[in-house]
Symmetry: C2
Subunit: 213 residues, 2 copies
Amino acid sequence: MTQRQRRKPGETRDKLMEAALTLVGKGRHFASLGIREVTRQAGVVPTSFYRHFRNMDDLGLQLVDQLGLVLRRMMREARGNVLQADKLIEESVTIFISHVEANRSFFFFMAQGLAGESRAVQDAIRSEMRFFASELANDLRRMRLAEHLSDGDLELTCDLVVRTVAFTLTDLLNVAPDDDYQIDQIRQRTARFLQLIFVGAAHWNSRTQAGNS
Amino acid sequence: MTQRQRRKPGETRDKLMEAALTLVGKGRHFASLGIREVTRQAGVVPTSFYRHFRNMDDLGLQLVDQLGLVLRRMMREARGNVLQADKLIEESVTIFISHVEANRSFFFFMAQGLAGESRAVQDAIRSEMRFFASELANDLRRMRLAEHLSDGDLELTCDLVVRTVAFTLTDLLNVAPDDDYQIDQIRQRTARFLQLIFVGAAHWNSRTQAGNS
DNA sequence: ACAATATGTGAACGACTGTACACATTGATG
DNA sequence: CATCAATGTGTACAGTCGTTCACATATTGT
């Protein structure tokens, strides 16, 4: 790295990924995108695609990697802003939704990928969700909010929380980005979902799932 | 209806819908299917497609209608077989999973459609889920299992239940159809999710969501 | 029996697709 | 400066796409 290059490396690469995201953000499904279409949107000649990706699945996988960064940024912000336990759920949901609004296309892509065409992308997204759930479990442990739960039960709870929030994406997908009223409805509903789950977790030990006679 | 026709009406129509489902069952995403591809799979000439559907979205919508029938059949079986309350969750989840295995492609299509390309299909599937949730609420009321919950809270709970079960589809999607061990794991995990939710619902009134100071 | 309608077939079109190849340009390294 | 690898461009080709049209066949209504 002697000098900065005039054309930064990966410039076209980024343009291609952004182009794919843009198309997804416009309502297209990732599985229906073609190489030519993406390169056209990126303002690049079709052959350039192969300089950076082997095929569309490859591009999808690299998008998941970038999605991971977005998720980690969101986690960091949540950890910094959610300090008092009583408003934990509301604030977390608010932060989540604001990140979805700020990176709408990314989360569209995530929602699509969960039932997408590429097995590899599917697995990658599910892996991100697992990581997210385990981090959530760590945080709850650290905040002494789950002391009566076994590791397995806490993991179960966090998995359910992450799934519930992830499903919210399909709700947000269906409303206009500027429909603040509807978005607020979704926010409140999601918060109540999580409250319901946490109430269940709080009373979980009293009727353990082992015996149910 | 004077006599039975040699070629039943809608024969090709059914073949086309089955063909689309078959392709989806093979891992393809509905949004990436083309008219020619579907007609080829159905063993029909491409032009025949237009005799029955205006475009692929139209076919998707009619698939959702058929999916509705599958869901209603499943509901009827659940209502008939789940009589005692103590095993309600386990039995319901078992019935659900068996129906998913029996109509794998249909539920694949449903999971895809939730974040699919066609807004109309999206809405149709979400509408089916709402109907399912409201029927579930009715059943719980009838079985006197939710007497302490307000209508709104019961609806909230059932919505969360339906979402959780629907998310299971992405899990079932990722395991081989004959991997009984993994499927049983998913079944147990889903049952525990629902137990957690119902425990939360049972203790919901003690910390109503209205005031949280 | 006859007309009308619904359904299936075949050929054809222009547009678009993925991909390969040869070539130009760039930045880094000797 | 010479060379090399990385990256971007233009051309080309064979295959597929959606869609139209004219035509054959089968079923229905009168």
